[in-house]
Structures are given as structure tokens and as C-alpha cells.
């Protein structure tokens, strides 16, 4: 477990320094405190070790073996093959294509989602005073709509010809592409859909963060002649940085595991243009190549850990 532990030291940082001063370890009060802490921790730890940590350890072990579906009944057939699964995954052209697709999705989709979320939150917080809860609920509706229904509706929206999007584009004289049928427009279609589906979550969290921005700072800046954009840039954004960090970290973790949209919309097609790493991994599990699929999952984890660490570094609060 040494690899995952060191890789995640970074997110463990916030708040750690503010723990209570250490009590003398041997004192009676200290021992009583430790005992109470363990009583509180035990139920979680038992469930966590059984249903989370143990499967994680097994899957990590599995990634170094040639485990296949049929080996589950006969565990002694499994051979340890070192890093073979990892080299095999990295050498697989479809896996590389999936990695590129996922990068494309994250690089375009994440800023788009964050921008939509932030714009909606700022508009609801500072721009308007009425119907706030209507807009709040409305913008959150895609988040809570079941993916099954979302897929059906979006397939109709993206249809060519006759889909709602291309019909609307036709009104302004643009002939829209065959969204899901053309390899060059399939990923943009899924990015659109994912941003639509996910910006509500970010908006809710940004709205919460914005309540922490004191109005007096805005007034002071306005009196100094700062415009709306300048106030946003120099007053709101810096104070919002911790929230921004939280939203971008959780969005990145989610988007790097981008799975549901291609799974329900395209099955990775056309021509592998929307296959994502998570989806390819899922397929490998489906084919019973458990060792290989586990190795792929840990490659994703590795990238997530790096991206998370970078975000913590870039958006760290200056103390």
C-alpha cells in the first residue's frame, strides 16, 4: 500500500496543521481520549476494511497477475506476472486511443463545466434577487435525472436529421453534423452532454462558497471604481479559491473516470472516437481479463493522483 499512501499525502494536508496540541501520550486523559476515538472509529474501520480496503488490496494484487474470470473458482491457477499487464495496457493501441479521448474530454469538458457552474452561481448569487430557488432547482435537475432517461432524450436531441439541436441550428442556416455518427463530432456531443449533466453540482457548491464572500469588499471595490468584471476577478475569485479547488478536484476525479455518457450513448463508437479509459477498462472486466483491467484501473488512479496533486499546488491558499 506504500504507493497509494504516498501518492495521496497531498490532499491529506488541509486542516492537518490545525489539530489539537498533542497530549502527553501516557497521561490518563490522553489514554481515555484515544480509547474514545477508537470506539468511534471501529464501526467505520470494520466496514471499510471489509468492503473497501480488502477489495482494493486484492485488486492491486490482481493487477500483477494473469487473473481471468475462470480463475475465480480456482485461485491457484493464477500466476504472478509482474508488470506485464501494465506494459500490455500501455502498448495497446485502443487503450492509448482511449487515453487520448479521455484527455480530450477532460481538457475541454472540465473548464467548460466549471465555467458554466461558476457563471450560473454568480448570476444566481449577485445578479438576481427573485426566483432564485426556481433557477437553482432547474439547473440542478439534470444532476438528479436518471442516466437512462437522459440517454433517451439526448439521443433524440442529437439525431440527424430531425433532432432538436440540428433543427434549431437549421433555423439560423447552419447544417449540423451527424453528431453521434461522425467520429469528429461524437466527442463534442458527449462533452456537451456531460457539461449539461454536471454543471449543477458545481453550481450548488459555488453558491455555497459565494456566501462566504463579504459584501463589504464588493462595495469598497465599487467605490474605488472597479467594474463588474474587475470585482469578480480581484475580489470574488481569490476568496473563492478554496471552493474552486474542491470543485475542480472532484470534477477532475469524476471526469477522468468518464464512463456513463459513452456507455449509454455510443458504446465507444464510431471508430473508437468516444471510447474512454474507464469504459475500455470496464469492457476488459466484462471480457473476464481481470488482471489486465485492474492494471488499467491503477493507471487511471495514478493519473488522478498526479492531477489532484497539481491542482492542490496550483490552487493552494497562500498562508
Amino acid at each position: 500500500m506504500s504507493l497509494p499512501t504516498t501518492a495521496t499525502e497531498v490532499p491529506a494536508v488541509p486542516g492537518d496543521s490545525s489539530g489539537p496540541p498533542a497530549k502527553p501520550a501516557g497521561s490518563r486523559a490522553g489514554r481515555r481520549e484515544a480509547r474514545a476515538a477508537w470506539i468511534l472509529a471501529v464501526p467505520f474501520c470494520v466496514l471499510f476494511l471489509t468492503f473497501t480496503a480488502w477489495p482494493v488490496v486484492q485488486s492491486l494484487f490482481m493487477s500483477f497477475t494473469d487473473t481471468k474470470a475462470r480463475d475465480l473458482r480456482n485461485p491457484f491457477n493464477v500466476n504472478i506476472i509482474g508488470l506485464d499487464n501494465f506494459t500490455k495496457a500501455l502498448g495497446d493501441p485502443v487503450f492509448r486511443k482511449a487515453a487520448l479521448n479521455t484527455a480530450y474530454f477532460v481538457v475541454i469538458g472540465m473548464p467548460l463545466t466549471l465555467a458554466l457552474a461558476l457563471a450560473a452561481a454568480v448570476a444566481l448569487d449577485k445578479g438576481i434577487t427573485r426566483f432564485r430557488s426556481v433557477f437553482r432547482l432547474g439547473f440542478y435537475i439534470p444532476v438528479i435525472t436518471s442516466i437512462v432517461a437522459v440517454a433517451v432524450v439526448w439521443r433524440f436531441l442529437l439525431q440527424d436529421p430531425g433532432g432538436l439541436i440540428n433543427t434549431a441550428l437549421g433555423w439560423v442556416g447552419i447544417s449540423g453534423p451527424n453528431w453521434l455518427g461522425d467520429p469528429s463530432s461524437s466527442m463534442p456531443a458527449l462533452i456537451m452532454m456531460a457539461s449539461w449533466r454536471n454543471f449543477g453540482t458545481g453550481m450548488i457548491i459555488f453558491l455555497a462558497g459565494l456566501q462566504g464572500v463579504p459584501q463589504s469588499l464588493h462595495e469598497a471595490a465599487a467605490i474605488d471604481g472597479a467594474g463588474v468584471w474587475q470585482r469578480f476577478r480581484h475580489v470574488t475569485l481569490p476568496l473563492l479559491r478554496p471552493t474552486l479547488l474542491f470543485v475542480s478536484v472532484t470534477t477532475a476525479i469524476g471526469y477522468l473516470q468518464f464512463f456513463e455518457e459513452p456507455f449509454v450513448m455510443t458504446q465507444g463508437g464510431p471508430l473508437n472516437s468516444t471510447v474512454s479509459v474507464s469504459m475500455y477498462t470496464y469492457n476488459q472486466f466484462g471480457f473476464g481479463n481481470y488482471g489486465l483491467a485492474s492494471a488499467m484501473s491503477y493507471l487511471i488512479f495514478f493519473v488522478i493522483a498526479i492531477v489532484t496533486a497539481i491542482q492542490f499546488r496550483l490552487l493552494r491558499e497562500r498562508t
Binding site: 491529506a12 488541509p14 490545525s18 468511534l40 472509529a41 436531441l157 478554496p242 477498462t281 487511471i300 498562508t319
Partner: protein, 299 residues
Amino acid sequence: MSVDTRRPPSSAKAPDPIKTSESGMVGSSRNGHWWLYVILALALVVVIAPFVWMVLGSFKGEGELRQIPPTWWPEKASLDNYTQLFSRLSFGTYFLNSTIVAVVVTAGNLLFCSMLGYALAMLEFRGKKVIFAAVMTTLMIPGVVTFVPLFVLVANVGLVDSLPGLFLPFLVAPFGVFLMRQFILGLPKDLLDAGRVDGAGELRIFRQIILPLCGPALATLGILTFLGSWNNFLWPLVVAQSETHYTLPVALALYSTGQNSTNYGLLLAGATVVIIPILVVFLVFQRRFIEGIATTGIK
């Protein structure tokens, strides 16, 4: 780093009159910029269009749903899909299963995650750093990787095709611990000392002082956990093998995409019904929900 951002409700409301007078100063109407309402309303239409289409579609017949281009208003609205949903499928069973699983999972997370969150935030004990590091690590590991080992485990203890098999693995989640720890870190330490001076034990301090202050955080965690469990699809699809243990998403997917072709009407009616409990939960908790995230000490 965990700045305490909680404020009493009264001071949270205080800036409002100032804000309106300020926006009046820069020349917009008293209720905000009218053009912003126009943009937001247009955005709202775009955002909820699929949802509206889903609800309207649930009243259409199968033929109309397959029509190209699709229609908005039902040409011949009927409740057929709903009567079929409630009569042909044992909808009550699925609804009950989904509810039991979601409620148990939510209760488990609220209780166990807040307990550990309190210990991690306020108490000193050996192993604290290790536990937190393990929690954060598993937060970042793709869920799909533990799917097979978890299924093997659940199969070995004979819980496949049972309700406990559906909820036991999700009774605790790293996300909940992270959230509760961050929130409790923001609570003043004096509370703890006051309780200790009064001679209260750590567990009593947790139950009688800390928990009552965690309302917003618990509401946030409750909604997110309920939503996640309610919409969970892959795990119940694999674990619930007999019809009596199906949850709503599983039953809807299996029936509407049946042997021959997808029954869209049934699917849309089901999806519309499925969303109602979540809407209710969101509406009930949304005020606290927003407070909750604002006060998680994420800052």
C-alpha cells in the same frame, strides 16, 4: 486552513438590503438586471428541455415516441404507460427495495462517517494519520476496480441476491468521512473543553454537543448519499438476481429494454416516477444543503 465560515442566520441575511441599494446605485432595477433574467430563463429552457420532454413523453404512445421528428405535446395523451408500470411490474416491490437500500445506506453513512470524522478532527490517537491517508486514497481509486473482488467477497459470504448484499458494502464511504472531518474541523475547540470541564465523556460530547451542530453537513451528506444510492445501477444489476430484489433502476432497465426492443413509453414513465423522491428530498433539504456545503470547512 479550515477557516470557520459559519455565521448565525441573521448575519448571513444582513448584506441583502445593502446589496439592493448598491445595485440600485449602478443603475439596474431593484430586482437585478432584467437582461440577466432573460439569459437565465433561456438557459433554464435549454437545461430542463430534456426533463420536460421526458415527462411529456411518458404520456405518449409507443408509436408517437418513435416518430421522426419527435413531437413535444402528446398528440393523444394517455396514462397507459403509468397503468402498465404499476400493474404489470411489481412496482411496489422495487420501490420498497430502493427505499430500504437508500435509507439504510444513508443512515449508515451519516452515523459512521460522522463518528470517525469527529475522531479524526478533534481527538488524538495512534493510527489517525494512517486511517485518513487510507480514506483519501480510496476516494481516488476508480470504483470499477474493486467491483470483481467485492462481488467475490459478497458471493463467498452468501449475500448475493439479498438486500444486505445490496446495502452492506455501501454503509460507509470515504467521501462522507472527508466531508464530516472538514466540517467538524471548523467547529470551535472550546466546545470540547467546555464539555470536558463539565465532566462529560468524549462519546457524550460527540452525541450531545457535536452532532447537533452538524445539521447542515449531515443534510448535505444525506442528500448526496441518498441520490447516489437511489441511482446506483451496476451493483444492484449484478447482485439482485431474482425479481423480488430488484431496485427501481434495475427493473426499469431490464423491462424497458426487454427481449425485442426498447419500450420507451414505459422507460420514460418509470424515469419520471423514479425522480420524484429525489425531488422531494432535494426540496426539503435544499436550504440546509447550501448552508451545509458553505460550512464544510473546505476553505
